[in-house]
């Protein structure tokens, strides 16, 4: 959990949303600090879009209080919340030129004409699209349109910029460029951003803090590092990064240290963050890049047969089929002259006990 010292830009206190008899969002507490880049990450239907719409004022909460920039905004209409938003489909006005699109929020705020011209010019320079000022959005590429839509937010300096899957319509390469561009603008301008995505890589790349949502609740929140290396639940572990999970029962080892008895053997495990009862079901998480293929060693390992090895460029992924039918993924750095074990060959996949992480077993059902 991060301790935020900066003043809060957005504060949700017990905010929930219920439709007929479906809880789209269970009561949630969330604080976003000034200048922070927070990502709402989760599968579809996890409540992240509902949360965004609640902050934007497009739906009214069933309970709780929403404070934006020190002002109670719970019942404030959308157009008085002082927010900005970037949509997946850009939502640029087709009947206006690029210049007019960016000028629109300033005109709404009755900014004098000369200043509008100056400020629109400045943001167009910032996103390096000054040369398309007089074109219509339709004539631009997807990436350019999304940059315009971002500029349209930046130009009037809103308290918070909401981004709803803004890069979902772009191809992979452009998406990566745009991720860096958004990060750059965030760092240069110190804007507070709330970013919604279902793409874990995007969340890891961009965020100061990730809020992982699941089933209308906040599953876990923290820095990308925390979520990646210290997931608290099996859902967190599986949603972010790839993971090897060994299910078993927690027991005390010969020296009193905790061990996990699994179908593939008994392994020493580090102490969990939240105590788990001895004799309870638990799961051991080991990230694929923390495992190595070895031909017999004295570290902790499971044995199995190589099923496949695939090349991902900088890394190689080995799939090891174990005796109980489960598959363990081992990821190693690629090197010139690498020799893979043959398919069907017996190998041991080992890890350092301190690289494992003990998680409570997910609730049944």
């Amino acid at each position: 959990m991060t301790v935020t010292t900066a003043p809060a830009m957005v504060e949700l206190q017990g905010v929930s949303k219920r439709y007929a008899d479906v809880d789209a969002l269970h009561p949630v507490d969330l604080t976003i600090a000034k200048g922070e880049f927070v990502t709402l990450l989760g599968p579809s239907g996890s409540g992240k879009s509902t949360l965004l719409n609640l902050i934007a004022g497009m739906v009214a909460p069933s309970s709780g209080r929403i404070v934006i920039d020190g002002r109670d905004a719970t019942t404030l209409p959308t157009n008085q919340r002082g927010l900005g938003m970037v949509f997946q489909n850009y939502a640029l006005m087709p009947h206006m030129t690029v210049f007019e699109n960016i000028a629109f929020p300033l005109q709404v705020r009755k900014v004098p004409k000369a200043e509008i011209r100056r400020r629109v010019g400045a943001v167009l320079d910032l996103i390096q699209l000054g040369h398309v000022a007089n074109r219509r959005p339709r004539e631009l590429s997807g990436g350019q349109q999304q940059r315009i839509s971002l500029a349209r937010c930046i130009v009037y300096n809103p308290a918070l910029i909401l981004m709803d899957e803004p890069l979902g319509a772009l191809d992979k390469k452009l998406r990566e460029q745009m991720q860096l561009e958004i990060k750059r603008l965030h760092a240069e301008l110190g804007i507070t951003m709330l970013y919604v995505t279902h793409d874990q890589d995007e969340a890891l790349t961009m965020s100061d803090r990730i809020v992982l949502m699941n089933g209308g609740r906040i599953e876990q929140q923290g820095t990308p590092d925390t979520l990646y290396f210290r997931p608290e639940t099996v859902f967190s572990a599986e949603f972010i990064g790839s993971s090897n999970l060994l299910a078993g029962t927690l027991e005390a080892g010969p020296d009193g240290a905790p061990v996990l008895r699994t179908a593939l053997g008994t392994f020493p495990v580090p102490a969990p963050d939240r105590p788990i009862e001895r004799g309870a079901k638990a799961m051991l998480l080991v990230r694929p890049e923390n495992m190595t293929l070895q031909r017999g060693g004295d570290t902790v390992h499971v044995t199995g047969r190589i099923e496949d090895s695939i090349l991902l460029g900088g890394v190689v992924r080995h799939f090891v089929r174990c005796a109980d039918g489960s598959t363990i993924i081992v990821q190693e750095l690629n090197q010139p002259g690498r020799v893979d074990a043959e398919r069907g060959h017996e190998v041991a996949a080992g890890w350092l006990p301190q690289h494992g992480r003990l998680l409570p077993a997910p609730p049944a059902g």
């Binding site: 900005g84 949509f87 709404v108």
Partner: protein
């Protein structure tokens, strides 16, 4: 289609001949007046033995004809403008608000389309006579607004269905008020739909005869009513010239509508 139903040449020829026959059946009565209108002013004849513009001269010099044409144009323009003022905001409100009884209201707006025009004419006649609106230009305009409202509503509602609601959302987030959103975001997107509806309304009002026959008198007679009574009382060949003028006008407006619809399809 051809693959499904056999593509023999004979079959294709028969279908296209049939289609052309249908077009001719529909078009000939309108087209036949065109040559007649350039004929002898003395009598109605087809084909005309000499080509003159005498009938047009008669039309434009006889104040009874010319006046009713001006009256019709005045009524049609006023009807169109006033209907737009009423129907465009109404359609927007119906499409975007969560007004209780929205469906019922929408049905109410469409009613004039479903009630037989003759019944409407009779009802308006009885109502307007007690209000002193018979034989007034305001009365006929009011009646035509009623008739044309559903058409503009339908056109604008379908335009709204195609417009992107995210644009209105984003405008609201940027701080725009409902009024600003309506004029600067919604209206520009509805331009084509409004134009199509307006042309329809103009055309409907221009050649509407049943209700106008009930409500107008000698002071306020519109062109279709004048034509109708002229058929009954004098049967002058000037009718051919008037019909030709109306046909050409309708054709131009129809072409305008088609062009606008093409444009909207291309842009969306």
């Amino acid at each position: 289609m051809n693959e499904l139903f056999g593509s023999s040449r004979a079959a294709r020829r028969i279908t296209s001949t049939l289609a052309w026959l249908c077009y001719l059946f529909l078009l000939v009565p309108s087209l036949i007046v065109i040559p007649i209108s350039f004929g002898n002013p003395g009598q109605i004849e087809f084909p005309p033995r000499q080509l003159t513009l005498d009938l047009y001269r008669q039309f434009f010099t006889d104040p009874a004809w010319w006046g009713s044409m001006v009256q019709s144009l005045l009524v049609a323009v006023a009807t169109t403008l006033l209907t737009l003022l009423l129907a465009v905001p109404a359609a927007y409100a119906l499409a975007r608000s969560r007004l209780p009884g929205r469906r019922g209201l929408q049905g109410l707006f469409m009613m004039p389309m479903l009630v037989p025009v003759i019944v409407l004419g009779l009802g308006l006649y009885l109502q307007f006579s007690s209000w002193g609106l018979l034989d007034t230009t305001a009365g006929i305009i009011l009646a035509h607004i009623m008739l044309t409202t559903p058409y503009i509503m339908v056109s604008v509602l379908s335009g709204l269905k195609h417009s992107d609601i995210a644009l209105e959302t984003v405008a609201a987030i940027m701080g725009a008020s409902r009024v600003t959103i309506f004029f600067r975001v919604v209206l520009p997107q509805l331009k084509a739909a409004i134009a199509v509806g307006a042309l329809f309304a103009f055309l409907m009002s221009l050649d509407e005869v049943v209700v106008a026959y009930f409500l107008t008198g000698t002071q306020t007679m519109t062109l279709p009513v004048k034509m109708f009574s002229s058929i009954r009382w004098e049967l002058t060949p000037v009718l051919a010239a008037v019909s030709t003028l109306l046909t050409v006008l309708s054709l131009l407006i129809a072409l305008g509508i088609i062009a606008l619809q093409r444009k909207t399809e291309a842009s969306s």
